[in-house]
């Protein structure tokens, strides 16, 4: 949105200079490969919309054009047409004193072509992106049947009564299959922007973090936490806040009702004199006050304004939080993992809702669920399953279906353009395991038809059978697979009507024009009968036909965004993608940098994979390295494993990211690298993002963390190093960089990537080299 507006501002500014030829001709020149004469290349990334020093506006003479050739109106019109897909508003400032015939340009006849140079099919024909414009693009008639089936399936996961785990429907998978451009992403967006506004937790298609080595349920949990911590893509609220408010309201209501008649007086801590008076009578006031408070806490109104209700009733949120926490401790006693998780989760919600503690969710994630459990030591997978169940329980309580949507599967399973069998098998097997081991989750997997067939060949019988179970949807029987069909003639007609509705309403007598306006019925008929062409292809045909009919141009094919096939990338483009990735990494580290354990571990692994082998600079490091989960702590137990030849060692590299109470746990989790069977490391490097660059880092550790360090590092080769913010950003940025490059269909050769990474991340590599002064017998 911002970038589009900025683009528009630039456009308006350029238009206002009087050099009205510039944008259209420049864009055309750029497309024609006239790089030397172009004003600037057509934008490809958001960064392109920002002005830089290179953006010099050339004079027409420099472009080899004489003023006599300038056809102002046509150029303005084409500029407007080219820019309209990127701008929300277009302002034409016709005030250039140097332009010949300025007054003529201000006439309605001259301006009309500029303002009408809008093709209503442009937006729909472009690949769907999460750019907040979906509601403007969407035509409900398109993909109505599969959308309704999906929504009905999602609603089947909205449980009305929930008293035990068995009340949740079993976890199931629905596969949405279709060719490229069949509208899979559009379908996902349509489900996300559902018309009835019913709440649902769609856990996004972020496939970036999937790692074959990571248990699937951990992957699920991380996605779930990210979704809870993130904002709703449509309405903008933070899911955790909404959940917390509603759960806290419920807990608070039960607490208030459970307060006995005398308890209500004691809560208010009356003075001595008031206590003496209350020995005789007068407790009715307190009782009625709490009754009124309870009435105000009745659903559904109070959840959103919980604190306001407390203030209105002159109840201290801190006191109420204490009461609810006390009740929670009483009703969820014991040190079993389940009780601990519930206490921490509900406690975090209470603190978030009543005390406005924004970091409450972090506290829940930081808690150690193994330490309190004296009954038996749970495996890491069990803890994750319990965590998942606790969060799912809360979602079920507020009738919130939890749906995992895996879009862009080609990016996940075939990042290099061909299917990676091991990755595909890991994903499908993991999905099947999740179907078996969890309850209450719905998985939507959006596959390209051919890719799904290929991937299925690498899945075992178990996975296939689980993927085909399907969801029993009332009124739609069993839904296991949805194949997106090209639109029919009637749907095309509805699409045309929907897209033309805005323009028709502006026309005098627009309602009386036929439904297929401005197309010929024959054209729509033929378009509907075309076989094998997905919906996007048909919309592109509509767009081109519209251009031909309305603007009289056959060659107007706008939106150079979707360029199929891999592109060879230039160094400048690579720089731009890297800068974008750095920006994004910086943002994600600012928001929740303690939550980046997996991303950073994986980023470091990818960074080393890209840069190694490097005999000139890092002769001692082997090329093989991978990110692995270690130990039993699902929150902090991650490390990057790299082999070192001199001295020969298996080096585990972990990040000490937690703060506060979680820091000792984080530190202890890293030492699991020595005992974990997968890693069997004999070296450990812990990277600590501290502000201290010199001095004794161990002495700078907080007391409890230092105690853990001193306890664990005996007779082991361990090294604690400070990592600065710049390095962290670069490590975090690399997966984003690779992802963005892949999204833009840019093929990165190994050599190019290697040299780029070596050059850009040179300060990271010293951090991962084992210190020869540190021996295995201690520091």
């Amino acid at each position: 949105m911002t970038s589009r507006v900025r683009m528009f501002v630039i456009a308006a500014a350029v238009l206002a200079t009087g050099l009205h030829i510039t944008l259209a001709d420049a864009a055309r020149d750029a497309k024609a490969g006239d790089g030397g004469k172009s004003l600037f290349a057509p934008p490809k990334t958001a960064r392109d919309y920002w002005p830089t020093r290179d953006w010099k506006v050339k004079k027409p003479e420099e472009l080899g054009m004489s003023s006599a050739k300038l056809k102002a109106v046509e150029d303005y019109a084409e500029s407007a047409r080219l820019l309209s897909p990127y701008a929300d508003y277009l302002v034409v400032n016709v005030s250039s004193p140097n332009t010949p015939g300025l007054r003529d340009l201000q006439s309605v006849e001259s301006l009309r072509p500029i303002l009408c140079a809008y093709n209503p099919f442009d937006d729909v024909a472009r690949p769907q992106h999460d750019d907040g414009r979906f509601s403007q693009v969407h035509v409900p008639a398109v993909l109505r049947a599969p959308r309704e089936q999906l929504l009905a399936a999602i609603d089947a996961y909205r449980v009305r009564r929930f008293s035990a785990l068995v009340d949740l429907p079993a976890s199931r998978v629905i596969k949405v299959l279709g060719h490229r451009g069949a509208g899979k992403t559009h379908l996902y967006e349509a489900v996300l922007h559902r018309e009835d506004g019913a709440p649902q937790l769609l856990i996004s298609r972020d496939t970036e973090n999937f790692d074959e080595g990571m248990p699937f349920e951990e992957y699920m949990f991380q996605l779930l936490m990210a979704a809870l911590n993130g904002q709703h893509p449509v309405y903008g609220y933070r899911f955790f806040d909404v959940l917390a408010a509603q759960v806290t309201r419920r807990l608070l209501l039960h607490t208030v009702r459970e307060l006995g008649p005398t308890d209500r007086m004691f809560v208010q801590c009356p003075s001595r004199w008031r206590q003496f008076r209350l020995l005789w009578r007068g407790g009715e006031e307190s009782r009625d006050r709490f009754d009124t408070f309870a009435a105000e806490l009745q659903p559904p109104a109070a959840a959103a304004e919980l604190r306001r209700v407390c203030e209105r009733q002159q109840m201290s949120p801190e006191l109420l939080a204490d009461l609810v926490l006390a009740r929670l401790s009483r009703l969820e006693p014991g040190d079993s993992t389940q009780s601990c998780i519930r206490r921490e989760l509900y406690g975090a919600m209470i603190r978030a809702a009543l005390l406005q503690d924004r970091d409450a969710l972090q506290g829940f994630l930081e808690a150690d669920y193994q330490a309190g459990s004296r009954a038996r030591v749970l495996h890491r997978a069990d803890v994750v399953r319990q965590l998942l169940h606790a969060v799912r329980e809360v979602c079920a309580l507020v009738q919130l279906p939890v749906v995992y949507v895996f879009d862009n599967m080609e990016g996940l399973l075939a990042p290099a353009g061909y299917l990676q069998p091991r990755r595909a098998a890991a994903f499908l097997e993991g999905l099947a395991q999740a179907v078996d081991h969890t309850r209450g989750f719905l998985f939507l997997v959006l596959f390209e038809q051919g890719l799904y067939s290929q991937a299925l060949m690498h899945a075992g019988t178990f996975a296939r059978s689980r993927l085909d179970l399907g969801v029993h949807v009332p009124g739609h029987c069993r839904v296991a697979e949805l194949e997106l069909q090209p639109p029919t003639r009637a749907e095309l007609s509805d699409l045309v009507q929907g897209r033309m509705a805005g323009l028709r309403s502006q026309l005098p007598g627009g309602n009386s024009v036929p439904a297929h306006f401005p197309f010929a019925p024959q054209f729509l008929e033929e378009l509907g009968q075309l076989s094998g062409m997905p919906i996007r292809g048909r919309i592109e045909r509509l767009r081109d036909e519209y251009n031909r009919i309305v603007f009289g141009r056959c060659d107007l094919v706008a939106a150079p965004v979707d360029v199929p096939g891999p592109n060879e990338v230039t160094r400048e483009e690579l720089e731009r993608i890297w800068e974008d990735a750095l920006l994004e990494a910086g943002r994600s580290l600012e928001v929740a940098w303690t939550d980046q354990q997996v991303n950073l571990t994986r980023g470091l692994s990818q960074l080393l994979q890209a840069a190694l082998p490097w005999p000139e600079y890092l002769p001692q490091l082997d090329a093989a390295c991978q990110a692995l989960p270690i130990g039993d702590n699902p929150r902090h137990g991650f490390a990057t494993l790299v082999r070192c030849t001199q001295p020969p060692a298996r080096v585990a590299i972990g990040f000490l990211l937690a703060t506060g109470a979680g820091m000792p746990l984080d530190m202890r989790a890293k030492f699991a690298a020595f005992s974990d069977e997968k890693t069997r490391a004999n070296w450990l490097i812990i990277l600590w993002p501290t502000g201290k660059s010199g001095g004794d880092l161990v002495a700078a550790l907080p007391t409890k963390t230092r105690e853990v360090w001193e306890e664990c590092c005996q007779q082991r080769a361990v090294c604690l190093r400070a990592v600065d913010r710049v390095s962290l950003r670069k490590i975090r940025a690399l997966p984003l960089f690779l992802e963005n490059a892949r999204k833009q269909d840019i093929s990165l050769s190994d050599d190019l990537l290697r040299s780029f990474v070596r050059e850009r991340c040179v300060e990271v590599f010293p951090l991962v080299i084992p210190d020869p002064q540190v021996t295995e017998h201690g520091n």
Partner: protein, 239 residues
């Protein structure tokens, strides 16, 4: 060798992964005590104050399908009729009526006419769960002039009997010659209601103290800062 069937404990039910009890209601919406006619009963720090000889109602509102009075002082309280569902001003509630008996004269005088007790009410919620609520009550004799007079008379009789018994035992005759012992007995008798009042206050305060202690036990506030142990551990510097 003969085999035998493994005997398992009968009370062990199949384990079912229930939802957290914290998320479920553990009490009806409200439990109040009113007079038979629905008038409010004074509520003090020691509980509802109920007069002996009165008939009262326990009113339970909320999604309840049955109400039972299961815990009560059987010598003083008697259940009356069956629980029934009633409507008052459009509010539906379950009603359980009970009567508070008069205690015996001896009991009344020895315990100064005040009995701190507790009524335990069990409600069956719509989902079949049974939850119980304890309502503190103070059963007391009305502090009327009749009682004062009775107490004065009683004290007077006690004092006189003591004086007479002393005179007979010690063969002292000043009892019949001087008005001082009589006056002393009268003053003592008049002090008796005052003492009763004081002791009643003491009893109410004691009961209120017990309830406060109970409140602290049940609603024990978690130690502040337990979750903020970051300071103790020392939060790591942010990058």
């Amino acid at each position: 060798m003969e085999t035998e069937v493994l005997i398992t404990p009968d009370h062990v039910m199949p384990r079912r992964c229930e939802v957290s009890p914290a998320l479920l209601a553990q009490s009806p919406e409200s439990v109040i005590i009113t007079t038979r006619r629905g008038r409010a009963v004074p509520l003090s720090l020691a509980g509802y104050r109920l007069r002996m000889g009165g008939t009262y109602q326990i009113r339970v509102t909320g999604p309840v399908r049955d109400v039972r009075l299961i815990g009560f002082p059987r010598l003083l309280v008697q259940r009356q009729g069956d629980p029934r569902e009633c409507t008052d001003d459009g509010v539906r509630y379950w009603c359980r009526e009970f009567r508070v008996h008069r205690a015996s004269l001896f009991s009344m005088i020895t315990s100064l006419g005040i009995y701190p007790e507790e009524l335990e009410i069990e409600s069956t919620l719509l989902d079949g769960r049974k939850v119980s609520v304890c309502v503190p009550v103070v059963l007391e004799l009305g502090f009327t002039w009749k009682i004062v007079l009775l107490l004065v008379l009683w004290a007077f009789v006690l004092s006189v009997s003591e004086l007479v018994s002393t005179a007979v035992r010690d063969h002292r005759t000043e009892l019949f010659e001087s008005p001082v012992p009589w006056l002393r007995a009268l003053v003592l008798a008049l002090l008796y209601p005052v003492m009763t009042f004081v002791r009643r206050v003491h009893c109410l305060r004691k009961r209120a103290g017990e309830l406060h202690q109970h409140f602290d036990t049940i609603w024990r506030l978690p130690e502040r800062g337990a979750h903020d142990s970051a300071e103790q551990h020392g939060a790591g510097p942010t990058p």
